[in-house]
Symmetry: C2
Subunit: 350 residues, 2 copies
C-alpha cells in the first residue's frame, strides 16, 4: 500500500464551503499492485482540473437535478485528470499511455469500466506546449469553448461579443476564438491585472474589472453599438444587464453561472430583463461539453487548438497549485473567482 | 365632421393604468370627406384587437427600449384593426376593401403611407366563420402562434408542451397547433371555466387554474414525464418553475410576459432557475410576429388556419366588447388576465 492523498467531500452546504468541514484532504491508502477492475484501469494522476461546474457535483444527497456525477459524502471528489496508465484491463489503453480521465481527485485512481470510455489517450505534445495545457486549453475548458463557439456563434465576422470571466479557463479560449473569427471581443474580469492580461496577451478589444465598474457603464463605454453575443460564464447581474445591451437577434451562450453557485436558491440574483428575449428576438442556448450531441467536434478540436497555439493565436494561462493538500483551496479559488487563469492542481513537483 | 371616439393615451405609469388618468376615451372629430394622405388610406374600423404586447407601447416618453411603435401622450393609441377602406390614394387598396391595418383605436382612422404596407386585404371569409376571427385566430394572435410554433417547436410529434395563458389569443391557437401535430398539450389559465374550455373545447390534455394550484404541483400531476416545450405567455413564477420541469434539450418559446407588464422593474419577479439552461441544455427563443424574418409564413398561414377551422381542428373564442367607450376596460381586462379568450372590441353593433 502507498499513500494516496485525496480530496474528500465531507458535507453539503449551499453556501461557500468551509475547508475541514465540507471539503478535506485525507489519505486513502492504495495498492498499486492490485489488478485493475475488469475492463478498467489503474492510473497515476499528474494534474487535476478544477472547474466551476464541479460546484454542482457537491450537492445534497438525493438531489438529482443536474447532469454531473454527484460526489458521494466521505468519498473522493470526481474530477478530470491528466494521468499515466499503470495497469490496464481494457484493450483501448496500455501502461504508459498519457490519458485524460474522469477519476478521483487523488494521487492514484481506479477507473472502472463505466468510466473507461470517457478516457482520451493523448498523442505526444509538441515540446513548446506545457502539460498543464492538456487540462486547460486542450482539456474540458478548451473543449467547452470550442464546442459552444462553433455551435452557437453564427457568422461571427464583424460581430461584437461580450465574455464574462474573460480570463478564466473557458473565457480565455472563447475570447481568442472570437478574435480568430474576426469579432470585436470585450470582457469582464475581477482585477486590473486580469484586465491587462486579456487585452495585452489575449487580444481582447477591451475589458473591465467588474468589481470597480458597473456592467452597464462598461458596456456603454466599450460597446456603444450594442452586443451581438453574450457568452455567459457568471449569470446574475452581468447577465441581467447584458440582456439590455444585446442587439436585435442577439445570442446568449449560457455556459455557467459561477456568481450564483455558492448561494441557496432564495439568495440568488433574480433575472428581471427576460422580456428582452422577445422584444429583441434573442436566443439563449445552454450546453455542456460532455453532451453526446457534440462528439463531432472532437474530430477537429485538438488539431485546431494546437495549430492556433503553435501560431501564437491562442495563448493560455493556468494557475498551478502543487500538491493534493491544496486541493480544497484550489476549488474555493475557482468558485470565488480568485484564481488567475485556468485552475490546475499539479499532484507533485515532478 | 363626424364624431370619432378614440382611445387616448393620457399619461405613463409602470403600474396598472387607471381609467381617466392614464387611458381615456375622447372624441376627436373627423372629416370622412377629406382626401387621404398621399399613398395612404381613410378607413372605418369595425373591430379593434387588444393584445398584451400593447402594454409596451404605453411607455414613458423617450423610452426606446422596445420594438413596438410607442403611443404618444394625448394621441390615440395605435392598434391592429379590422376596417373597411373608405378612400384610397394607394394602388394596393380600393374603397370597400376589408383590411387589417395598424391604425388609431378610433371609429375612423387615417393610415399614412408609412403604415399602408402593413395593411392586409382579406378575401371574403367563409360564412361559417365569425368576423371577429379576423382579429383573433386569423389576426396577429393566430399569426404569432403559427409563426412561433413552426419556427421553434421542432419534431413536435409525441412531445409534451405546456402553454401558459392557455385560453388567451395566442395560447388557444398554439395549444391546438400542438394537438394537430401530435403533441401532449397542457396549460395554465385563470379560472375553472377557462380550464373546462381548453380541455373540453380545445382538446388540451390537461389544464389548471394557476390561482388555485401551484405550477409545480400541477406540472408534477399533469406531466410527470417532464416538459419538452414551454410556450411562455406570462413570464414570472410560471417560467421559473417550468425551467425546473423541462427535460434535457427542452425549448422555451418566449412569446410574452403579461404577469410582469404592470410592474416597475424593481417589483418584477426575479428568475432564479436559469442555471437549468446549461444543466439541461435548453434553448430559449424570443420572437415577435411582425418580424421581417417571418414574412414567409404569411404564404401558408391564412390557408392553413382557415382549413383547420373548417375541419373543426381549430376553434377560437373571443371576448367581444361593444363600443369605443369600453376600450380602456378592454385593455385592462387583457393586462389583468380577466378576459376569456381573445379580446376584441367591436366598434358598434352593426
Amino acid at each position: 500500500m502507498v499513500r494516496n492523498k485525496s480530496l474528500i467531500y465531507k458535507k453539503y452546504t449551499p453556501y461557500e464551503p468551509v475547508i475541514g468541514e465540507h471539503l478535506a484532504v485525507e489519505d486513502r491508502p492504495f495498492d498499486p499492485e492490485a489488478p485493475p477492475p475488469a475492463g478498467g484501469l489503474t492510473i497515476k494522476n499528474s494534474h487535476l482540473s478544477f472547474d466551476p461546474y464541479m460546484r454542482g457535483q457537491m450537492r445534497a444527497p438525493g438531489d438529482n437535478g443536474t447532469y454531473s456525477v454527484p460526489w458521494v459524502i466521505d468519498e473522493p471528489a470526481q474530477v478530470t485528470t491528466l494521468s499515466t496508465v499503470l495497469k490496464s484491463d481494457n484493450p483501448a489503453f496500455k501502461p504508459g499511455d498519457l490519458v485524460s480521465a474522469m477519476a478521483s481527485a487523488s494521487e492514484y485512481s481506479i477507473v472502472g469500466p463505466e468510466f473507461a470510455h470517457w478516457c482520451r489517450v493523448f498523442p505526444p505534445l509538441p515540446p513548446q506546449l506545457r502539460p498543464e495545457t492538456l487540462v486547460g486549453g486542450l482539456g474540458i475548458a478548451g473543449l467547452s469553448a470550442y464546442i459552444s463557439f462553433n455551435e452557437f456563434v453564427k457568422e461571427p465576422k464583424g460581430k461584437v461579443m461580450f465574455v464574462s470571466a474573460a480570463s478564466g479557463g473557458v473565457g480565455q479560449i472563447v475570447g481568442q476564438l472570437g478574435k480568430i473569427h474576426g469579432m470585436k471581443v470585450i470582457g469582464s474580469t475581477g482585477s486590473q491585472e486580469k484586465v491587462d492580461f486579456v487585452v495585452n496577451e489575449l487580444g481582447y478589444d477591451g475589458a473591465w474589472n467588474y468589481k470597480e465598474e458597473k456592467t452597464d457603464d462598461a458596456l456603454k463605454r466599450l460597446a456603444p453599438e450594442g452586443l451581438d453575443v453574450y457568452y455567459d460564464n457568471v449569470g446574475g447581474e452581468q447577465l441581467d444587464t447584458a440582456l439590455h445591451h444585446l442587439n436585435n437577434y442577439g445570442t446568449i451562450v449560457s455556459s455557467g453561472m459561477v456568481s450564483q453557485y455558492n448561494l441557496p436558491w432564495g439568495e440568488m440574483y433574480g433575472i428581471r430583463n427576460l422580456g428582452q428575449m422577445f422584444l429583441k428576438r434573442l436566443s439563449m442556448h445552454g450546453f455542456i461539453c460532455s453532451d453526446e450531441r457534440h462528439v463531432k467536434y472532437l474530430e477537429t478540436f485538438g488539431k485546431d487548438i494546437v495549430t492556433w497555439m503553435m501560431e501564437g493565436k491562442i495563448k493560455t494561462k493556468e494557475e498551478v497549485l502543487v500538491g493534493l493538500d491544496l486541493a480544497p483551496q484550489a476549488l474555493l479559488r475557482v468558485w470565488k473567482g480568485e484564481k488567475f487563469g485556468k485552475m490546475v492542481l499539479k499532484v507533485d513537483e515532478n
